[in-house]
Amino acid sequence: MAEKTVIRKATIGGRSFVLRNRDVMRALRNVEPEPIMSHYVVVGLRRFPPKQVISAVTGLDRADFTTHHARRTLMRLGFLAGRHGAMSRASDANAQQAPSACAPAPERLADRLRPLVGQWVAIKDGDVIHAAESAQALVGWLGQHGQHADSVFRVPDDELAATGLAPL
């Protein structure tokens, strides 16, 4: 199903922008998420710091705006937002709910893993802090950002990958 285009005017750091949700997704497609300190937004199933997203889309320096401003702007565009250890807040990710609607229930880690089938994930404090296509890329990201995971594994994409199968 085609995703609805959401367009919003926003003034950030004293400058006016016309932002589209599709442009945000396109701009972030090949960008590696930086570590989440507290707040995040979900873009294309990945979690990004809000300031990273707004900076990537607008070209603004991150010192020119606040995390809350970035978060609010992205929620108005329909992106899910959340905070580590708290219930997710969602705007109309598919333009079907009122902006700033509160998600009904917190996600379990297993539910967060479901869209990441086949990918390597790093888990920290019960949450996915990064996902990558290979173990090498994942560990590289951890090292590059000074992160320390509690656990890394590949989310099983079939039953063979999920079971031990007792090698002979």
């Binding site: 379990r108 880690l109 297993a110 539910d111 893993l113 479901r114 089938v117 790093a122 290979s134 173990a135 090498q136 994942l138 560990v139 951890l142 090292g143 992160q147 320390h148 995971a149 509690d150 656990s151 890394v152 594994f153 590949r154 989310v155 099983p156 994409d157 079939d158 039953e159 063979l160 990958a161 999920a162 079971t163 031990g164 199968l165 007792a166 090698p167 002979l168």
Partner: protein, 138 residues
Amino acid sequence: MRFNFREIPDPGQQTIRARPIIDVVVESLEIAPQACLLDSGATAIRFGGYVAELCGVDLSDAPEKQIAVGGALVTARMAEVGLLVAGGEDAYSWTAPVWFCDPWTPGFGLLGLTGFFDHFEVTIASYEERIELTPISP
């Protein structure tokens, strides 16, 4: 040391299954402990070959054999490596033979009899989805 089972989505289904998985630090790879499935049907500890690469374990002169994993033959090469498991305030480290396999289908390492089950008394309480490990004194 006590651990809860790890909830993992069932592949291709909307269900979730809790599995006996714990995290093991291999050699100096402390930033990325490897999730491992407790597998009493496996004769030894198995990891994907990428783990050796990430840890800098040299397998060039390692003993090598073909083993079957998930119905497929894989090349396994063995090295003695340092392992560490931590739970709560307790941690236990030991050295064990580990077979690094290529290709590697499972999403986790496998902790089998030699190198793991012979180092711990292991309780897998599936009904309560809990694991208890008690290191065996040498």
